[in-house]
């Protein structure tokens, strides 16, 4: 085939690929990786406002590292409220990521924490275990939420509204 004809074929293929690229970009705007411009404080207020915080205490950075194995300095914002006593299973963990590549690290940290908690209560803390079973892990764009409590769905709704 002569170069003239080939140039038509390549041009068509090139702009076809460009068209699919455009579609990909448009869908990216509404995909699960879409980030939120909501400030960490606003998000924190929204989720703590939807949660019974009386059975929890706020963790400092050392405690966050101990319980979740992550360094709060690596993220734009981290807050953890954990049970007041060893017999509690209520927990609220909210992280604002610097970028979505940190999603896996946070997901692993939350999964590990959930396994530890379930192992702690398995066999004797029936209510606590059930609460952990109902807990919700939501990782969306630049935010991650882990909520274990009486009404995790209410906290998730608040999270989604604020996102």
């Amino acid at each position: 085939m002569n170069p003239q004809r080939m140039s038509y074929v390549y041009t068509a293929l090139k702009w076809l690929a460009a068209g699919f690229l455009c579609i990909f970009l448009i869908t990216s705007l509404s995909g699960s990786d879409r980030t939120s411009g909501t400030s960490f404080q606003t998000m924190k207020d929204a989720v703590t406002g939807a949660c019974d915080m009386t059975k929890m205490q706020t963790a400092d950075n050392q405690m966050i590292k101990r319980l979740y194995g992550i360094d709060p300095g690596d993220y734009d914002g981290v807050t953890l409220s954990y049970p007041l006593t060893n017999m509690g299973a209520e927990e609220l963990f909210l992280v604002k990521l610097k970028d979505v590549s940190q999603q896996d690290a946070v997901r692993d940290a939350v999964d590990a924490r959930l396994v530890t908690q379930k192992n702690s209560f398995e066999g004797y803390g029936i209510d606590q275990y059930a609460m952990l079973e109902r807990s919700i892990v939501e990782i969306r764009g630049n935010y991650a939420l882990f909520i274990s409590g009486d009404n995790p769905q209410k906290v998730l709704n608040a999270f989604n509204n604020a996102f």
């Binding site: 170069p3 990909f24 590292k65 590549s101």
Partner: protein, 450 residues
């Protein structure tokens, strides 16, 4: 998937190497491509669609430009190149500055496809007619996520003359392991020390200085470790890429630092931005413009926030200062002093790099000059220094070729028992890495976010 994960070390890498070396020659590239896609898509399959679309778009664009060159239609060659580059950059900027969510490796593979388009446009390379080879160039799993950014013309040459010997496997494995040790045993440990510093709400000046030093060393071992692993893996397949780091903290000035740090990115900007703009074959004013352009682009390539732009300009300023103001006067200063000054300037620059914003960087610099009001040294500073002193000494030593030269001299020149000891040390360090990987939480590479 990352190189420093158990899944990669004990499943992906051995399976890949076995398959790659057992299959007949004509099947090697399809195997390499399929497993590169698997590697890239692991954890985020959606991003693979973008990578494939980018490959298709640039594959067709390269052939289109080549067809216009053959037809002698210069204006169409230029228009087609400009439009292609514009689309590639628009996609990168869309994710970098609009969504703020970067598909992993996009900064690196975009620079790879741009290298292809520029090489075809400048007729440094022929347009790739094989979509398989084009896809292998872009998606090549050792480099797709964090480089090194290999020029298309160099990669094409390697593909055309791919040879493999048993020594490639050994040399590559050696490089890979050295990179793994750098990442797991040095960088991640320094990262923990840096994390301990940044988790303090207030800190003495000395503590902030220690934090800056920890991060500067961590970044070097993290990224150069990744690069060593990438280059080592490539070597195990028969590809030979130049090193990406050459003891940068032994540089005697900032210009030299950038010839030794992330060498492939510097080379990319030199070949595709600085030289086409006129390089240093023009007036001093135009040279300054060219250099500043490169440094602004280097800054914003790393991130969308103002601190990265300031970081780029900061380095650009010192490069200009050395080139036009200080010139040869630095030669009179003892080399050790020049190295210390260069490291000091580079380390200060990393404060802009690790801070989440310009305000954060200024705040941290303020803490370094005791703005927290708790003096320069306190018990926390002593504790952190004492806890990490051995690590710091080891890291500083490993920033020089001293340990490597001594090892190579003993293991390869004297041989005998020294070689056996060397093998023993490698095995021990590997087990330490595995133990660390089993017990530790996932730690990503610092450059994955770019």
């Amino acid at each position: 998937m990352t190189f420093s994960s158990l899944l990669f070390l004990f499943l992906f890498m051995p399976v890949f190497l076995l398959l790659y070396h057992l299959v007949p020659g004509r099947v090697k590239m399809p195997v390499l491509l399929v497993l590169s896609f698997v590697f890239y898509a692991w954890g985020s399959p959606r991003n693979l669609i973008l990578l494939v679309l980018s490959i298709l778009f640039n594959y067709a664009a390269g052939l289109q430009i080549d067809a216009f060159i053959q037809m002698g239609r210069e204006s169409m060659v230029r228009i087609s190149t400009i439009l292609t580059v514009a689309v590639d950059l628009a996609v990168l900027c869309f994710f970098k500055y609009v969504t703020g969510t970067l598909p992993i490796g996009i900064s690196f593979y975009t620079f790879s496809v741009l290298s292809y388009i520029f090489d075809v446009y400048r007729e440094n390379a022929r347009a790739e007619t094989s979509p398989l080879y084009m896809a292998v160039y872009v998606a090549f799993f050792p480099k797709v996520i964090s480089g090194p950014i290999v020029r298309f013309c160099d990669f094409q040459e390697q593909l055309d003359n791919l040879r493999f010997s048993r020594s490639d496997l050994l040399v590559g494995l050696n490089m890979f392991l050295q990179g793994l040790f750098k990442k797991i045993l040095i960088a991640d440990t320094l990262g923990k020390a840096f994390g301990n510093v940044t988790s303090l709400s207030t800190m003495a000046g000395g503590t902030a200085w220690l934090g800056m030093i920890f991060y500067s060393l961590q970044l070097y071992f993290d990224f150069s470790g990744y690069s060593d692993m990438a280059i080592g893996l490539s070597r195990m397949m028969g590809f030979r890429f130049d090193k990406n780091f050459n003891y940068p903290y032994l540089s005697a000035n900032i210009s030299e630092f950038w010839r030794r740090w992330h060498i492939s990115l510097g080379a990319w900007f030199r070949n595709y931005v600085y030289i086409p703009m006129g390089g240093n074959r023009c007036s001093s004013l135009m040279q300054a413009r060219n250099l500043l352009t490169v440094w602004v682009l280097t800054g914003i390539w790393h991130g969308s926030t103002l601190n990265f732009l300031v970081w780029g300009l900061y380095h650009g300023f010192f490069v200009l200062l050395e080139k036009f103001v200080i010139k040869d006067r630095l030669e009179a200063v003892p080399v050790i002093v020049r190295i210390l000054i260069t490291d000091f300037l580079a380390f200060i620059g990393w404060v802009f790099f690790f801070s989440p914003s310009l305000g954060g960087a200024i705040h941290y610099l303020g803490q370094m000059v005791c703005m927290d009001g708790i003096g320069f040294w306190n018990q926390t500073t002593s504790f952190i220094l004492k806890e990490n002193l051995l690590l710091l000494i080891a890291a500083v030593l490993l920033c020089t070729p001293f340990v490597k030269n001594m090892h190579d001299h003993l293991a390869f020149r004297r041989g005998g028992v020294f070689r056996a000891v060397s093998v023993g040390i490698y095995v021990l360090l590997f087990f330490l890495c595995v133990a660390e990987l089993v017990s530790a939480t996932y730690t990503s590479f610092l450059y994955f976010k770019f």
